[in-house]
Amino acid sequence: MKQLILIRYGELGLKGKNKNKFIERLVENIDGACNDIAGFSVRSTWGRIWVEVDAAAYPQAVARLRRVFGIYSLSPVVSVPRDMQAIQQAAYEVLRKCLPQGGGFKVETRRADKTFPMTSPEISRAVANDLFHRLDDNYWADMHDPPFTLQIEIRGEGNFVYGETVHGAGGLPVGCGGKAALMLSGGIDSPVAGWMALKRGVSVEGIHFYSFPFTGEQSKQKVMDLAHILAGWQGAPFTLHVVHFTEIQKAIHQFCREDYGITLMRRMMFRLAERIAKQNRCLALYTGESVGQVASQTLESMSVINEVTNMPVLRPLIGMDKEEIMAIAKKIGTYDTSILPYEDCCTIFLPKYPKIRPRLQEAKEMEQALDIEALLAEALAKTETLTIE
């Protein structure tokens, strides 16, 4: 037996001429997410996307579809012949399944096929009458604020009855918004920032700064695990650039003032990220920064750090509190990995009193002590690019 699923894509409907491209992308992404599910097929017709799977695989399909951005909601649908009796029988079965204990409900009909002999209100009334004949007093009509709406659609391509609606991830299909580079540490924030990029349809590549032997294998593995989770949301393998950052850390530590350590380190990170982004045709940088969270995320720090790049630096968490960020991290499944103890920066490099309001002039003066080009070139030469499924 097959189960038909109706996919709604809300926001996509607003995109005017580009609409078809978005829908094509969404269909592709759905295909990518589900094509190994038994009996899977997907097609788009008349402003709808339809997925079909073997009935037994329905829960698995729903779980996958709920992670595909661009899907606003979805409903399991019963397809019926163009016949009132069949429609009424299907309506009864769907209602009993969705409201087994009874409750208030409403019947709504949309008739696109104007050759059908009854109008929409007539169909709704006929179905409701039939239902009340069959049901007990535990069911009643609620026309104003129905907890449950039974939907009937009479269309050229078929006739459908459904009731249950499952929320989707929302957003836009990944890939229709270009590609960006995400600065991915091992913390709580940056994976959430990456998720928010994906949610708006932007594909993401990760950049991680690795300072072995000041941090261990485990800290790299942790970032790879986070990349794996993001790959699931992306619906495609996740490219992770692991930058050899050790020599830069050491040089800053050795030649620059301790309180400016973080500022200068972040400036180097942004320089590297910009170059890697350009090499890989990424149009923007994403970071997990939020104003005021740590010393490097004050406006003064951010402006001094940002000065090294002209690329747009997008910070989707900029106005969020830690609690809010943590709530998303838990929802998207990155939290438990992020809180593992392996850190991406050794305590050796963390100044006791980091500069909270660094000055650009001072930062530039201190950088005189560094051979920036040579350091960047070496770090890039030793960068390892991984593809994480």
Binding site: F212, P213, F214, T215, G216, E217, K250, H253, Q254, C256, R257, E258, G261, P341, E343, C346, T347, I348, F349, L350, P351, K352
Partner: protein
């Protein structure tokens, strides 16, 4: 090929060929269940008896006193939970453990402390050895259990077990005397009678057997209630179908290592000394041995602090050179996880944060020790330079 020097044998060991062969045979041929009534079952039961016999010979104990377990943590838990649940009814609720025990002793003890038991930690001196006078002061007739290590896993300190036993028998004659022998078994003789001990825990994977097997020696006449109930295996102390591949491998590894204890001791001390000499020759900056003097410590463990260098960074530096060691503490900006063993010895924070443990096995070589010493000296110099550089510009 990249060099690989494994000096972390107190964490775990490579399985020896004899143990591999024994496990393989048990999996491919003698795979019967010792409880089965047919021929293959009887064959497995005979193999189990032979393994028990082999292990009892290593401990100079009776076959009937050997109980196979899943390893050190299970042995320690069985004794502590059992003593608290059973022996405490006869004596009282005092439990003594040393301050430098393994977490698989300290955590169960903490569990009973939370249940209202009188759990006391026996202090150690600056070398990590139990303070006998303090022990005497803590022992009384209410004491149901004393649990101490034979060899400390971080420092290699060998506890004065005979003196401890003598004091227990004099001041708390009814107390169960348990020795955690996980780091000692196969390296130092188990003199169970001389120590007047009641229970001794050992683990397979520290002596070149696989993980997931171990044994508990429990003196005849002493009873402990089981942690796992079921089919009544191991004379009701430990239910569950016997882990035959593990048990046979454990017996094979135990016979191998106990049969060569003297020559292994000599070989590992030679390795240890070569390492120390190597540090000297490589002009390693300041270094301090933690724990007892080298000659008095167990042959296979060496704990050294390199003040001014963080141990975790040193560890990864050495890893980069193909030398694998262990650090007692983890450095993290959120939590400072410090070795409870070195803390109990009263060492300074700087010394604790810079401590590395090198642990050897008979399969290591003097050449490895010399190479590792060179790598260590270089790593220490590099890391100290890094950490010093920051300080100057503060």
């Amino acid at each position: 090929m990249k060099r690989s020097i494994y000096f972390d044998n107190s964490a775990t060991t490579k399985v020896c060929p004899q143990a591999v062969q024994a496990a393989l045979t048990a999996m491919e041929e003698g795979f019967g269940n010792p409880s089965s009534l047919h021929g293959p079952g009887a064959a497995a039961a005979r193999a189990l008896t032979a393994a028990r016999h082999a292990l009892s010979a290593c401990l100079q104990a009776k076959e009937s006193e050997i109980y196979f377990t899943s390893g050190g943590s299970e042995g320690n838990n069985t004794v502590i939970h059992g003593a608290a649940a059973y022996w405490a009814n006869k004596t009282g609720k005092r439990i003594l453990v040393s301050a430098v025990e393994h977490p698989s002793v300290l955590e169960p003890a903490k569990y009973w402390a939370a249940k209202g038991y009188d759990v006391q930690k026996i202090p150690v001196d600056e070398k990590g050895l139990i303070q006998l006078e303090a022990l005497s002061a803590l022992l009384n007739r209410e004491t149901c259990l004393v649990s101490v290590m034979h060899v400390n896993n971080e420092t290699g300190a060998v506890q004065p077990l005979a003196e401890i036993g003598e004091r227990i028998r004099r001041l708390a004659p009814e107390a169960l005397y348990h020795i955690d022998g996980v780091q000692a078994f196969g390296r130092l003789p188990a003199q169970l009678s001389l120590w007047q001990a009641d229970a001794y825990t050992l683990s397979g994977h520290k002596i070149h057997a696989p993980k997931g097997c171990g044994a508990l020696w429990l003196r005849q006449g002493k009873y402990l209630p089981p942690l796992i109930l079921g089919g009544g295996q191991e004379k009701n102390l430990r239910s569950g179908t016997e882990n035959m591949p593990g048990i046979l491998a454990l017996a094979a590894a135990a016979e191998e290592i106990c049969g060569r204890m003297q020559e292994n001791d000599t070989a590992m001390r030679r390795i240890k000394n070569a390492f120390l000499q190597g540090l000297q020759q490589a002009d390693c900056p300041e270094w301090l041995i933690n724990g007892p003097d080298v000659a008095e410590a167990a042959p296979h463990i060496l704990n050294i602090s390199f003040p001014g260098a963080k141990s975790e960074v040193l560890l990864h530096y050495l890893e980069g050179e193909g030398v694998y060691v262990s650090s007692g503490s983890a450095c993290s900006s959120h939590s400072q996880k410090v070795s409870h063993v070195l803390s109990a010895m009263g060492l300074s924070p700087g010394r604790i944060e810079s401590a590395l443990r090198f642990s050897f096995c008979p399969y290591n070589t003097v050449e490895e020790a010399e190479q590792a010493a060179k790598a260590t000296a270089a790593a220490v110099r590099e890391v100290q330079r890094m950490m010093g550089a920051g300080k100057k510009r503060r």
